[in-house]
Amino acid sequence: MKFTTTAAGTLALACAAAGCGSRNGYWNQPLVATSYGLANGVAIVDDAAHRVVIVSANADQSVSEQQVTVGHNVATVATSADGYKLYVMSTGDWPPQSVTDQLPELTVVDVSTRGSPQVKSYPMQQPLSNLVIDPLGQWAAAYAGAAQSTSLVENPNEIVLFNPNLDYTPAAPDAGAGPDAGGPPLQNPVTLDIQSFGGTPQQLTFTPPLFLPDGTDANGNEVGATTRLLLIESTVDLTMLDMSYAFNPPATRRPEITVQLTDGTTTQQETPAGVVVDDGDPTDPNDARIALWTSTDTNVFVFKLIASPGTVNPFVPSINSAPVGEACTTTNPGACRDQIPSAVAFVHTSPLPANDYGLQVLALVPGLHSAVFIDDSDETTTVPLPAAYTNLSLVTNVVGSSGGSPGPDVALLWQQGGSNDGQPSGVAFWGLQDTSTEGIDVVSVTEPIQAVLDVGGSSTSMNPQLKVLQLEDSGLYVLDLIARTASPLDTMGAPSLTISTDGTRMWAFAPGGKDLAEIQLPGLNLVPLTTPSPIGSVYDVTLAGADAGASAPSALIATHQAGAWGATVFSASNPTIATARNATSLLLEGAP
């Protein structure tokens, strides 16, 4: 008996020592995930498990999974324009309460190479909620924006700039003049405190390359240099940061330029709505322009970047504003709200004035059923339009200019939603031979338009002349910009659409349903398909290991968000139910 008692005691001790303990917490975490499309797979962010599961398709429609560890408490996820990088910004365990708590960080997952994804992590000093990705892939910027404070004290004007192509490099105590001057590598990321006149950054934009003044040469002649700017729109001002110098040590960093949007005599705040940029004459360093509009003012602000000899920054913006509607005052806020521009673009008109290259700002003011041209001298020309068009996109590069090269642009106008009388306004081609409506050609559609989608967003698109008009209630049109035809497709309800990068097909599905259809472009042949489980989202991706390009073999991955997530994979070139393959329990594999 004594023996058995001893044995039982030993057993109890062994039990305690062996850890009759609980399992890995991963298995108890709730499964709340979101998916993001990459060029060659689908990234499923499994925040509770602090990981991203990358699902790619194989030639036999099976899937391969790879996982990457990311920071705690994911705040923002974004993909690069080319679809080969995933940016995951996390707030960490904030505020930190122990040395083991994780700091905020940005994790960049690069899937462009074969094999395992390349991962770079960039610790941050404070959690930020908003992330902007450079469309050209050079940089990323994080900022607080309008998000709720997570700390006792926060600096909303702090902006963190990342170079995702370089590894994390902390600040060197003796940075000196930078690596070019024999100093240590440049800090990455770099944290900047943007000067403020009371506003806080609301929207950030990386410009395309601009040819800007860059001082003078040895002979005193003005020279230009191609650079890119980060435009920071706040509630009261616009700040420009020269990205060519943003990562430099403070001693050689060019300070940002801030231009106030208000006259400084009022406390009026603006809500940035958008910004457009044009390099103007590519040989003239003094011709780059920026136009900014807000959702709280009828003014369009136009900045021209001109030389500023003798200053740290070799260029300075000259600001002009032009009203496109009735001026906003405190006594008529309602009236002015109806006259705020909804879309702005730089357009070339003809005849081309010799002095300004024919570049004008075109603003759509749907409340006035009009378009307003703003020329180089801030003179405005209002043109009544046949409908309250809210959106415009330039299609000159597809349809060609009607007046030679360079010549007048062709704009595609459309109205989001129905007009006040409920009548659809269709889409309008507007050849900007002059600032009149004579060049408008309307293609009618039967329903109000919800969105206009480009067919193939990449340069490898094989059908750039097509656009898809998604209608509000049901149905869609495929618009041919060259033939100026709009082919209708009937649908049950308003389906979600995914267009392949190469522009040769489009997928329509109803989220939560099992029906799926391939629409081959440009012929509009339909292939109806079904999946065994309700569809959450669909992604047209190149096969694992395939080289990028228009001819890369592709697959469709339809995700199923039930349970531990599943996916149905179809061959993109020949989708059939017979060859489709279903993968199950994607988020249970590779448990940490």
Partner: protein, 239 residues
């Protein structure tokens, strides 16, 4: 599982016959053929087994590392020498766990172990005996996952080599004396040990049924090793 159970019973029956024949001998035989039926006996054990499975592969199926099992064993003494005896037998263990996974799925595991315990005993008269046991055999591991992303339940059954190593003590409850009397005896016993089970690959597949042309891939939950310490507490009857 049923097959294992009946096999065990059949083996008990086989053991019972020769024991009966041998036990009749002391009453009629001279003292030199006297048999202590607290040593030479046929035993039937029924008890509870608790196993500790620290392997991470066990995590989907249980909130902790513990797996309870029921077990049934029969043995027959085939050799005695002084205070020592040797008794082979057959044993069937059955147990399982089930748990919710990521708050959306249910994973379950069932283990059937069929082993041949080879038991060496040191007897202490009316106080019972201490024993050491080696039990090679096989284990059938059935794993199952119910996930809404799959059109059918995902499952897998594997046969694995298994061996138990244990030592313990059997305490004679009643009757503790009348050693030569051929009668039923009740025992309480406990042992502790270590179980060895070959590693299982948890690549579960859907059970779509014949005629279903869907191409459905299962899930790979990694590997599972059911190795670990265990204890057993049981009641036994001998005759």
């Amino acid at each position: 599982m049923k097959a294992c159970f009946f096999a065990a019973l059949a083996l008990v029956g086989l053991f019972a016959s020769p024991a009966g024949a041998q036990s009749a001998a002391p009453d009629m035989a001279p003292p030199e053929t006297w048999v202590d039926h607290r040593e030479a006996m046929t035993r039937l054990e029924l008890g509870y087994r608790g196993s500790f499975v620290p392997d991470q592969g066990f995590d989907p199926f249980s909130g902790n590392d513990f797996m309870p099992e029921f077990y049934l064993a029969a043995s027959r003494t085939v050799f005695t020498s002084g205070r020592f005896s040797f008794a082979p037998g057959v044993e069937w263990d059955n147990g399982g766990r089930s748990s919710q996974v990521r708050q959306v799925d249910t994973a379950s595991l069932r283990l059937n172990r069929l082993t041949v315990p080879l038991e060496g005993r040191v007897h202490f008269g009316p106080w019972g005996y201490a024993f050491a046991r080696v039990a090679p055999g096989v284990a059938a591991l059935q794993t199952q996952l119910t996930d809404a992303s799959s059109p059918a339940t995902l499952s897998k059954t594997q046969w694995l080599f298994a061996t138990d190593l244990s030592a313990g003590y059997a305490w004679l409850l009643w009757p503790r004396f009348q050693a030569s009397q051929l009668t039923g005896r009740l025992w309480l016993q406990a042992d502790v040990g270590y179980a060895l089970v070959a590693q299982a690959q948890l690549n579960l597949g859907p059970d779509l049924g014949s005629g279903n042309a869907q191409r459905v891939d299962g899930v790979d939950l990694g590997t599972l090793s059911m190795n670990g310490a265990f204890f057993r507490i049981s009641a036994a009857a001998s005759f």
